[in-house]
Assembly symmetry: C2
Homo-oligomer: 275 residues x 2
């Protein structure tokens, strides 16, 4: 039983709340029964797990998970509730947190729909966008410079397991973009001032959608590359939340790909456009 918050294992795990420590260690914290189960079911093997027996007791799902982790010979360290709370980032912790390898899922060889987050700073928005992206069929997500870290604990929680299933990459420089998306991919940026409505785009072609930040939208690098599109709005609303705007556009791409049309039949076969 670990009883001191200055225990070296605990100290090392706690440092993973900082981005540079996560990058250096190649590890991040995965808190709570649901997220740890998501990791396991995606084939991710945690390095180690910390739990507070007092907090876990009586919660079947947590007890079952611990049994499963121990059966898989993953080191599970018991600690006191006070020690556990030094690792936890949640308001009502479930008493279990895993140290897991940062997922580096293989990028698709021919991405048909890329989401690029540029200067999105609010972790809840980034997490909601990741969930919407997976559900809408995005096949890779890129994080531009000056964007929230995808492995920030709040993004991970809001993402509800998507981090283990959808390939994510952090772009250190804008010129990496060319190596990450095929030339055939048209690039669009959501911009409330744009004249082109988002639903007039033919989303059956390979495409990249840039969603900009809450404060000032996308930066100049993204704008230089992308065609601006807007969601036509009624009333006096000035803008939509970044996650809402992104989801509305992403599900329009999914609708068009499912229905095979966008109302403007162009006869493009998405499966062959990248060939």
């Amino acid at each position: 039983m670990i009883i001191s918050a200055s225990n070296p294992r605990i100290r090392e795990a706690r440092q993973l709340s900082q981005k540079r420590r996560r990058v250096a260690a190649g590890r991040f914290l995965v808190e709570g029964v649901r997220l740890i189960n998501d990791a396991l079911s995606s084939g991710v093997r945690p390095h180690e797990v910390f739990y507070a027996p007092e907090m876990v007791a009586g919660h079947t799902s947590a007890v079952d998970l611990l049994a499963c982790l121990e059966a898989a010979q993953i080191a599970c360290w018991a600690c006191t509730p006070n020690v556990f709370r030094t690792l936890s980032e949640t308001v009502t912790p479930q008493g279990i947190v895993a140290v897991a390898p940062l997922p580096v899922l293989p990028l698709p060889s021919c991405p048909t729909l890329t989401l690029l987050l540029d200067q999105v700073r609010e972790p809840g928005n980034a997490g909601a966008l990741l969930r919407a992206a997976e559900a809408a069929g995005v096949d890779q997500v890129l994080f531009a410079p000056e964007t929230v870290d995808p492995f920030n604990d709040k993004v991970v929680r809001a993402g509800m397991g998507v981090h283990f299933r959808l390939p994510l990459r952090i772009m250190a420089q804008w010129d990496e973009l060319q190596s990450l998306i095929p030339e055939a991919s048209a690039v669009y940026v959501a911009d409330v001032r744009a004249a082109l409505p988002y639903d007039a785009v033919d989303w059956r072609r390979p495409a990249t959608l840039v969603i900009g930040g809450e404060a000032a939208g996308a930066g100049p690098e993204a704008r230089a590359l992308a065609t601006p599109i807007a969601i036509p709005m009624q009333g006096a609303v000035e803008s939509l939340n970044a996650a809402i705007a992104g989801a509305v556009i992403l599900f329009e791409t999914a609708r068009q790909r499912r229905q095979g049309c966008n109302g403007h039949a162009l006869g493009i076969d998405i499966g062959r456009a990248c060939g």
Copy 2:
């Protein structure tokens, strides 16, 4: 200058953070320059305003707003920063808050698109849904029993002025629904398990969309009245955030109404369907 937090005016205003006090007084708190400007530009006249000169000083937009309020002979009470903070619900207050009448905007005689929130508890979701609703052309929003109060400060902030522009009603009982939506309005409820895709619905007809809560979706009363629809999802995502799901469906209604089709031409004229 009000220097005591127990000043009767301050005490009365502070109580408006409670729903029952808001209902009893017919008033609510509108905090910050932007929201107060939204109120004014929608023709709402605040009863009174509290501000902290020290906090407002140097912020042109706040100084201009105060000048405008005083020119309109609205009582503006100066108070100390500490007194002001007892009224403020924000982390970084701008130093100005208005007491405004609860808006009761007239309901449309023939609503073509009603949004009904049922058991949505998270104020940020409710506010984001209100913003999306206005932008997508919803003409009234109903709050079912057991749903967050629309005049909760967090909903008001997240709504960014929509409270002054979109007719909202709190339903005390489910049987009020019949008097608030026309019989011709089809009722749909977002339900992740539904077989009917949301984009197969003909949204050019008068319709009511029910969005259920984060935890368990819509309640039995709503389900009994409504046809379930789902947003088809890829990957392993179990559900979308309530605000995201609602916005995706609302903007599909807007898209169909703008394009005049949903891919299934039924020849209904939305303008005439309500007789």
